[in-house]
Symmetry: C2
DNA sequence: TCGTCAATGTTGCCAATGGAAACATGCGAG
DNA sequence: CTCGCATGTTTCCATTGGCAACATTGACGA
């Protein structure tokens, strides 16, 4: 061992391991799917030992929960951005629903991770807060389009949310095949969604 | 080793291992959740070695796919039974939607397994057929309530399906907390669903 | 200045898992 | 009767998450 190691030697301390781990996890999630989100694989990606994440996240669940929190933040911003330039409250609600499905299609792995309670720890403050913020975006979009008393409001939010969420989940789980027919792919799915939104 | 083993000795060949494995998997799924569906655990439950399932199902995915196929069969029957004694086509559609969520609440693990493509092999004939049958039940319920041309029909089926499925998924993933409030539990969820169905 | 300590990483270990390979058993067709 | 093939078992391996013990580094106070 040289007293003064060559300049390309990895420093013992990474410096920004926490961020690097999250970034690696996100990249891996996008490219190889949720099943590839292994503690060891993520650590390998950043050149760290497989127990290094333990210092920043308690365990795999912790790491995934922080990643999901990031996802919910981005999700909320995406919904807001889509509704921003719409003229009416009703148009904003529809745009929000479209954006909901768009996000799921653009980030399928992340979306499934976010809405799959099993691998997450929802008591983590970062995750809880991010989820609450995203929920508020949805809730306000519905409230603006359909002002009503508390009970009907709950039902209207649940209805809009269920529709967007169900469509996204069925899409990601490849269940809509018989309904898309030859209109497969993301474009066909969004076209079907537009037809749905135009029904009432 | 005695030449004639005592009567309580396990025979080398189980006789109905395939059925026993599926039954054990279903029981385990209901009691301990999808994560407990381990090849080794299921085999242990029936007193077989952990490679025995390989002779009946190719691998864990195969076993889970057959289990999911059973689930879809039961699911289709449940939907049909719920709609059977309804007077109008519209009432039958609503009853089908209610039954959809009822099934998810009654068999959460099975439902999630059925609609989680990752752990299943949808090319298995048993699974493909069962999924198609369940889909037809849904499709016909919508068609009877809203006769229309092919394109609108697709949209109507997708809409009804998305609503029921999204509501069920959000419920199973504990996302509807803010909407259920003190009306938690299965009863509260079904009450919220009834309010939703009464909106249009 | 220097010594101590907390934060950050690493190595080594463990039990559990899915799967492959080689082998054992026994039913049933010829 | 016997031999082939379906059905099971044993053994082995790589991978995984997590724990414990140890190493490195920088910061802070006597």
């Amino acid at each position: 061992m040289a007293v003064s190691p060559p300049s390309d030697a990895k420093p013992y301390h990474h410096g920004a391991l926490r961020h690097a781990l999250l970034a690696a996890a996100e990249a891996r999630l996008a490219q190889a799917g949720p099943d590839s989100l292994t503690l060891r694989a993520i650590a390998r990606d950043v050149g760290a030992s497989h127990t290094a994440p333990r210092n920043h996240f308690d365990d795999l669940t912790g790491l995934l929960s922080e990643l999901a929190a990031m996802g919910f933040e981005r999700f909320a911003r995406h919904l807001l951005a889509a509704a921003a330039d719409q003229p009416t409250a009703m148009a904003r609600l529809n745009a929000t629903g479209r954006a909901y499905v768009e996000f799921a299609l653009a980030h399928p792995g992340l979306f499934q991770l976010m809405f799959r309670g099993e691998r997450l720890d929802v008591t983590r403050p970062a995750l809880r807060d991010a989820m609450a913020r995203a929920y508020l975006v949805l809730q306000e979009a519905v409230a603006a389009a359909h002002p009503s008393d508390a009970e009907e409001m709950s039902a209207r939010v649940a209805r809009a949310w269920s529709m967007a969420h169900g469509f996204a989940m069925l899409l990601l789980d490849d269940q809509l095949g018989p309904l898309l027919g030859d209109q497969a792919g993301a474009a066909g799915a969004m076209r079907l969604l537009d037809t749905i939104l135009a029904i009432d």
